[in-house]
Symmetry: C2
Subunit: 390 residues, 2 copies
Amino acid sequence: MIMKNNLLIVHGGGPTAVINSSLYGVITEALKSDRIDKIYGAIGGSEAILKEKFLDLSKTGKDKLDLLLATPGSAIGSSRYALEQKDYERMVDIFKRNNIKYVLFNGGNGTMDTCGRVSKICKGDDIYVVGIPKTIDNDISIIDHAPGYASAANFIAVTTAEIGQDVKSLPIHVCVIEAMGRNAGWITAASALARKNKKDAPHLIYLPERIFDEEEFLEDVKALYDELGGVVVAVSEGLKNKEGESIVPPIFKSDRAVYYGDVSSHLANLVVKRLGIKARNEKPGISGRASIALQSSVDREEAILVGAEAVKAVLEQNTGVMVAINRVLGDKYQIKTGLLPIEEVMLHERILPDEFINERGNDVTQEFIDWCKPLIGDKINTFISFKDIQ
Amino acid sequence: MIMKNNLLIVHGGGPTAVINSSLYGVITEALKSDRIDKIYGAIGGSEAILKEKFLDLSKTGKDKLDLLLATPGSAIGSSRYALEQKDYERMVDIFKRNNIKYVLFNGGNGTMDTCGRVSKICKGDDIYVVGIPKTIDNDISIIDHAPGYASAANFIAVTTAEIGQDVKSLPIHVCVIEAMGRNAGWITAASALARKNKKDAPHLIYLPERIFDEEEFLEDVKALYDELGGVVVAVSEGLKNKEGESIVPPIFKSDRAVYYGDVSSHLANLVVKRLGIKARNEKPGISGRASIALQSSVDREEAILVGAEAVKAVLEQNTGVMVAINRVLGDKYQIKTGLLPIEEVMLHERILPDEFINERGNDVTQEFIDWCKPLIGDKINTFISFKDIQ
């Protein structure tokens, strides 16, 4: 008789449009194995491990499983709970008590740190712990990209193209679009994929990897407004000045944190005040990581794949590793998965490399576009504008 | 031999997700008539009439025409140019010089005002002027609804449902979503269609039809946060206090206008400062009227229909009228088009009636939901949440 053990899947941090697709991959792959009994979901992130809030997902019907592919948020919840040393120490007992031999953590850099610590604590106890990468910010290092990013990239690209078409048809103002990504400009940069033709939106792109210079910004906006009438600017929520501080003055300080206003609103106001040009701001916010209509199909497939690969990895008794997505060099877009030691992943945060940003720091380069385009497929609609014919 | 004349179509004001679908309806219907020669698009709104910037659209191929159905913005441009009496007086000559006998204006209240004035100026000159309704705000009176509204309603409903799912999975903050509609709360109200179950987002809805009371708002948010952890609030950009002023203090005054900050940002800050609860704000902005993925198919079909009906109306020598959408009473959603004298339309701005708003002024009623639901079809996805099962 084959010894059966339980598997536990834990989600950490903010959701993406495809985190539930990875969960789908985990469940469907685990169901194939005769060595896995229950497929536990930790209901509410790593905090749920300590509370032993486990729900058996192995009896979920196919129709319900399919809903995971089109459900935003995290279907098993998540948390930002900061685990302490004493929390880690309790885990081996909890896993053993619940016959859990396989543990998967799906998340970004913070969750991978947790994953690495849990794997260390479990070493020698016949418990295997593997990470599944996930982040809209694309700031996990070493791997080519993480599931979640491509959908966020597709969202900002399509949204910018559509806003660009609107602004072009009634070109009387400057429109500043704010994208998520506080330290890394990957999402903001993807707005460039909106362009089909020269002079298409976005006309300017500002990233947190470069110091933001207000005077250069106003100069750039003014010149483009004089030429086009309608100007679309994509900015990261994390823009900083040369002192390394947010470009928005703090509006409120509490005991725990400093609160800043929106970067897009700040810049739109600046355009109105300093240039006397009508300006508005857009902040799609959470919808950029929750939109199912603008999910990237490449992203969804890859998310399912890394979930399945993580199950295979724990069954093969790997531990302390994360499933990686590596790009195969060649003309056609192709990826290969692999396993990376979690310590290597944790060494640094991944930001946009210099060769992806233009010299003036107000746009991306063709290299970035070539790198990013295959991730979103060919989702940008072709629009018609008789205005351009006239 | 049949006498052939030209038709002119003019777009006014801000675009909708289906204004180009009405243009599609105009062109395809006009192509059927042997009394219409050229189908002119005024390139850039009513201003283009004075500049005689007309582009013949009658030779547009079918493949290009089809693109209109999925193109946001206005494919022939638009304007917010304020016409003066002397501008109107020049128009009869311009129309005659260009052999234009049929004139269509597509727009909201402002454009219908223009349409009415042009029809008066042209009376007795064998020139026929008809209006096509269009507004995301749904503030055109008498008619059941205007093309453009249903897509904006669908956008906010789907987006709120998706944000709600995200917030529910990591319920640690209050999220304030801002919708367009400065004087009328129709779009904001449609966020209610996001709900499949009780306790689904949006948990609170604030409309410009009611005086906004800060203390009641904070009370409502606090109670819901204590119960749910994650609270989603939908607010109109036009919320006003009991003095009838914007609830956001003015941030900048120019010679021409007063600029206010974002209502959503203001309210999120208020939650942080006064309740000490983490809060964020979302302002999808223009994307709410430009999203093709979230276009309502009902809206698109109706937009095509009113465009075609307007062509029929001018060919039958109607003038000074607007195509109306009337709802046929009955169990099944059904509409009937008609023609309304423009003067009647212009009498008042349409706001949400009292029976569509609940007593506390923090939600809509079931009557509103029953009225609005057929317009967006059944576009809200069904999501799965294992969290709810636990």
